[in-house]
């Protein structure tokens, strides 16, 4: 399965809907170990993505990815903006070379790691992105696997982002960015991104 403009459009549409539905929940997750704005941030970003994509007429894949990246970068702010933005920017850079999800997501993950300096196990969105890439390298990807990855952040001690100020006290809480990333990949599956 190769990523196409149609899949990306559908993907963003579904992700937009999930973020709208879960906005309050994402902010709630961000309250005990963050500053309670992750839902608002993602909603602002996805509204921007929707508005920008709506303005495009027959864009190619690269333009689509770049448009998403720029909308996220210029609307989200906070930590999530540059991270999701960088992810899509990296995919824009590489999508002429390859349209394979696993390869694009892998470039995106490298971008996220570089941008934020975090690594696997730091209780961030990386703890969903990294397993997703790992799984895709070997086989297909299921909603259950994604959820399992996101839920796994509950037991971790935060090392990066606001939650890290809590140290050990961050254990027992889901990472909000991991959960929004879970929605992102669930939407990707629903959009038909995985064969």
């Amino acid at each position: 399965m190769m990523i196409t403009v149609e899949i990306v459009d559908k993907w963003m549409e579904l992700f937009y809907l999930k973020v709208s539905e879960q906005k309050a929940y994402l902010s709630e997750l961000d309250t005990p170990i963050g500053d309670g704005d992750h839902g608002n941030n993602m909603m602002r970003g996805m509204q921007g993505v929707k508005d920008s994509l709506d303005k495009l007429t027959k864009p190619d894949l690269k333009t689509t990815f770049k448009t998403i990246a720029m909308a996220l970068i210029s609307k989200v702010g906070g930590a999530a903006g540059p991270l999701y933005g960088t992810a899509f920017l990296e995919m824009a850079k590489k999508c002429d070379e390859t349209q394979a999800p696993v390869e694009l997501f892998s470039y995106a993950l490298e971008g996220i790691k570089k941008r934020g300096g975090a690594t696997v196990g730091d209780k961030t969105m990386i703890d969903v992105w990294a397993p997703v890439v790992d799984i895709l390298e070997k086989s297909s990807l299921s909603v259950e696997q994604i959820r399992e990855a996101a839920n796994g952040t509950k037991d971790l001690v935060a090392k990066k982002g606001r939650a890290s100020y809590l140290g050990e006290r961050s254990v027992g809480h889901l990472d909000p960015g991991a959960v929004s990333s879970q929605y992102l990949f669930e939407s990707f599956i629903e959009a038909g991104g995985i064969k």
């Binding site: 902010s27 309250t31 500053d35 309670g36 704005d37 608002n40 941030n41 602002r44 970068i73 210029s74 609307k75 989200v76 702010g77 906070g78 930590a79 999530a80 903006g81 540059p82 991270l83 933005g85 960088t86 941008r115 934020g116 090392k159 990066k160 982002g161 606001r162 890290s164 100020y165 809590l166 140290g167 006290r169």
Partner: protein, 331 residues
């Protein structure tokens, strides 16, 4: 939540609009952004530009410190949310007069990443950009393997120092060197009596009982290191000074600047009582501050509490920089 606002989502643009229109002699808004720049454009000619900013909710920081002798521009994000790189990039472009631009960034992952992306953009335009990441909040354990310490009220002193140096013609490299030298000598620690209420959230970031306080909270209601029953001003001072002492090693033979900072809802009455106890506590250590300020400088919306910043003036020039005249709304 009882606040004098309209739509909670409009707080930032309305606030920036109110600010620039109330003080046109100091600042103006950069079109299509929530960034403000000096009105006195001539004051930036031939000087390194100084840009700071961050999430809103810390007023008068950061737009209140824009003006000759201090910041060249300040970028305001959503409440408690870092501004986006495109806005920071606009501010960098607006203040660059060919000498480069220096960024003062508070150490939050969001701020660091967004300012980083903005400097990447500026570099594509061949604008030289350097920066300092302020991490003065000693309540948090310092570590290379985590986010490290938060940037809080001491940031204002960094603004003042690099702003004065820039006004006196320092180069971008000199300013970077100065900022790096200054940074380890600034330590801040706070005590909260209540948490801030973000307008779009509608309820306080945490709850404290009617007789409880919390030491070490951050300026976005980040949790502190200990909660206990309310103490006297004198006892609070003892706790905060001893924390800073174990970090800066206060010494009667050194010179210090002191910033007593109200978090937003704590009246000056309490800040001055706190200052009274603080000056007594320092006097016992044979310290009489060479420079002191008391007031609301780096607030946390309507949080009640005080932060104490102590800054060791290792170089006498630093004191001159603090005393150097500025033309801003709030210094």
């Amino acid at each position: 939540m009882k606040k004098i606002i309209n739509n909670p989502g409009d707080v930032v643009p309305e606030m920036i609009d109110g600010l620039v229109r109330a003080y046109p002699q100091y600042v103006k808004q950069i079109p299509e952004t929530e960034a403000v720049v000096r009105s006195n454009k001539a004051s930036m000619d031939g000087k390194v530009g100084i840009v700071s900013g961050g999430g809103s909710g810390h007023e008068p920081a950061h737009p209140g410190f824009v003006g000759k002798g201090m910041l060249s521009a300040a970028v305001a994000g959503q409440v408690f949310t870092s501004p986006t790189p495109d806005q920071i990039y606009e501010a960098i472009k607006a203040v660059n007069t060919g000498k480069g631009v220096f960024l003062v960034i508070k150490n939050y992952s969001g701020d660091v990443m967004n300012f980083d992306m903005a400097s990447d953009m500026a570099e594509l335009d061949d604008i030289p950009v350097k920066s300092i990441i302020v991490d003065d909040d000693i309540a948090v354990e310092d570590s290379l393997y985590t986010q490290g310490r938060r940037g809080v009220a001491g940031t204002i002193l960094m603004h003042k120092i690099v702003g004065a140096a820039a006004d006196q013609g320092a180069s971008l490299e000199e300013i970077e060197k100065l900022a790096k030298e200054v940074l380890p000598h600034i330590g801040t620690i706070a005590v909260a009596l209540s948490a801030a209420t973000v307008p779009e959230v509608g309820k306080p970031g945490f709850e404290l009982a009617d007789d409880e306080i919390e030491y070490g909270v951050g300026i976005h209601s980040e949790p502190g290191y200990r909660r206990e029953k309310i103490k006297t001003s004198h006892e609070l001072v003892e706790e905060l000074v001893s924390k800073i002492d174990s970090e800066l090693h206060l010494d009667g033979s050194h010179k210090y600047a002191v910033l007593v900072n109200g978090m937003g809802a704590t009246p000056l009455m309490e800040q001055y009582v706190f200052s009274h106890d603080l000056l007594n506590e320092l006097a016992e250590r044979k310290i009489e501050p060479a420079f002191m300020k008391v007031g609301n400088y780096m607030t946390s919306i309507d949080m009640a509490g005080i932060s104490l910043t102590i800054f060791e003036l290792v170089d006498d020039k630093w004191l001159d920089y603090l005393n150097y005249p500025v033309e801003t709304i709030a210094w």
